[in-house]
């Protein structure tokens, strides 16, 4: 099982990731459906609160994180012009990581939770997950250490930074509540994790992926090295301060609020730097998105990234926050980065990398097209339902419409979300089926080739 075959870590992490996107998104779909039929599958184990927590934790730490690690096990050695330090360790870490995720999944269904959003696994799972992440980081740092290419391309900066920040942030966010002096302080630490799991892991690895994929897919050099440096250091400087804006207008002293809100708005700088660079690189290549599905996924990802990063600083304004906070809008926004932007770039990464490591094209181009369109259209229906719902709901609360009535008003939007969500979910089966077929056929072809060679020899 712990093979040291070339690229096996990358491939196996991808396979596990796609398995978990199906499980994780089915939890999401169940969450959405439960808001229409509250009694659906309602019992001690799969009550709404458990399923929602499981959905959040699985799509982020199982699907997206595993897809990221799979990408890095290919991209880092490529950029460093070397091989993976230890494929065996990479595969061992994968098995370990999956066991930990499974433990966390069942812990949540059995009602064990540490409450912290984006860090809901109980402490005994957190500790193991930290070890698993540590193993991955060690392996990849060692890979960079044995590089033969001296220049560090910008993707490597992002990957190195992310692999350092994730474990550290994980420790701060999952600090045992009993050791922390007050509830609000724990809230601040929890949101430090909540925001930086997005800012210093999801965003930074995702942006690194795009920096790698764009020049490869378009065959053009990066628009500006200088700009990519500005983007990287601006993210590293400002993102880490964003936690407190989640408690804005609330029980935190105003100086903490300001310390969180100002950097949130300043984030427009790195976002501009990153996107100007992406779209500068694309100049003259946009027509390629018609034929290349991975490129189309990447570009749709960058557009959703723009949306997410326009919403983010806007929401960090106290006046805007006072309307949309706690509403469905937040849920719409929370899906923009992890699904719209970075799941899309991970899909692109899988479609780009998998053929290279198994030695054959993706089995079906039509399935890729279906995957793209179902994901995109589904997500737009999903997100617009929630944004409109959030604004309507926010203003209804301000006008003093009784709460229960605002719940009834949301019914059509909640249904719209479920319909969009179903399309997003269905899309992933095209990905899973396509991957399965590709890998199976690649194995078969290799076997046939070997037989032929044996016959002619």
């Amino acid at each position: 099982m712990f093979t040291d075959e070339k690229w096996s870590s990358s491939k196996n992490w991808f396979i596990a990731a796609v398995f978990w996107i199906i499980i994780g998104m089915s939890m999401g779909l169940l969450t959405a459906t439960k808001q229409i039929w509250p009694e659906l599958l309602n019992n001690r184990w799969t009550t709404y609160g458990h399923v929602r927590s499981a959905h959040v934790m699985l799509v982020i730490y199982a699907w997206l994180s595993m897809a990221y690690v799979g990408s890095m096990f290919y991209m880092i050695p490529k950029l460093a012009k070397t091989k993976v330090y230890s494929e065996k360790l990479g595969n061992f870490a994968l098995v370990f990581y999956n066991i930990v995720i499974l433990e966390g999944f069942f812990a949540l269904l059995f009602g064990q939770t540490s409450v912290i959003e984006y860090g809901e696994f109980p402490l005994w799972v957190d500790v193991q997950l930290l070890v698993a992440i540590g193993l991955v980081a060690y392996n990849l740092f060692k890979t960079v250490g044995q590089r033969t290419e001296k220049m560090l391309y910008v993707s490597l900066w992002y990957f190195l930074g992310s692999l350092l920040w994730l474990p550290l942030t994980w420790i701060v966010g999952n600090f045992p509540a009993q050791w922390i002096p007050s509830g609000v302080q724990q809230g601040l630490m929890g949101w430090f994790l909540g925001h930086n799991a997005i800012g210093l892991w999801m965003t930074t690895v995702g942006v690194g992926q795009i920096y790698y994929l764009l020049p490869k897919l378009t065959g053009r050099p990066l628009y500006s090295h200088q700009l990519s440096m500005i983007g990287f250091w601006a993210i590293a400087t400002f993102y880490v301060w964003n936690g407190p804006h989640h408690l804005m207008n609330g029980p935190i002293p105003s100086w903490i609020s300001k310390a969180g809100v100002i950097p949130s708005i300043v984030l427009l700088i790195p976002v501009w730097a990153v996107l100007a660079n992406f779209w500068g690189t694309m100049k003259g290549s946009w027509s390629q998105t018609r034929t290349s599905v991975p490129l189309r996924f990447t570009m749709a990802g960058t557009i959703f990234y723009l949306f997410a990063c326009l919403q983010g600083p806007l929401q960090a304004l106290p006046s805007v926050s006072s309307v949309i906070k706690f509403t469905h809008w937040t849920v719409g926004h929370a899906h923009m980065g992890p699904f719209g932007a970075f799941s899309f770039t991970s899909f692109a990464a899988i479609y780009y990398i998998l053929p290279k490591i198994v030695g054959r094209e993706m089995f079906s181009k039509r399935a890729m097209e279906a995957h793209f369109w179902f994901s995109t259209v589904g997500f737009l229906v999903f997100a617009f339902s929630l944004w409109i719902a959030g604004v309507v709901q926010g203003f209804a609360w301000i006008e003093g419409v009784p709460f229960l009535q605002t719940v009834l008003m949301m019914e059509p939007y909640v249904q719209g979300r479920a319909i969009g969500g179903t399309m997003m979910y269905v899309a992933q089966f095209f990905l899973a089926w396509n991957m399965y077929k590709t890998i199976k056929l690649a194995k078969l072809e290799k076997k046939q080739q070997a037989q032929q060679q044996a016959a002619t020899a």
Binding site: T47, V115, F141, T169, A177, Q185, G190, T237, V240, S322
Partner: protein, 179 residues
Amino acid sequence: MERKPSAVLIVALILWMFGVAGTVILPLFDQEINSATASGELRNYPEDSAEARGRDVYIQNGCQTCHTQFVRALPADTNQNLGPVSQGGDYKYDLPHLLGSNRTGPDLMWVGLKYNEDWQRQHLIDPQSTSPGSIMPSFDYLTNQELDDLVAYLMSLKPTEERLEEYQKEREEAKIKGQ
């Protein structure tokens, strides 16, 4: 630096630590959030009291995923009649915190003010019977003991008499100003 991964990592670590210092370490020294208010003291439940056990039931069943405990000094909250604006010190003993991030259901910071025990119990067993159109799932699978504890916890979520009086005065003043 473009050739030295260790340099990138060191600077990345320093920048990260600045953020931790500003948003995690400094707040530790702020009295506003670290000393309990009188209403916050009410939430310091003795170990193994009905309220403390009820709080565990609340967490185990994921109530915090739909309900916030977070009242802001904003029209969206004051017009919903949620009770006094919550202060940092109200949460001194709230571990783990239950501030929440989404109001799929209403805020519960001071829910103990609003209904009596019978209503709470009935609402937990059959939410639609007390709140027609509610999308809250039924918690009829809880044992009697768990229901008792959970109701005790919900009923304990209220401000002190003084705080409540202040709040009512504030609201009346605001009303007069509004006219």
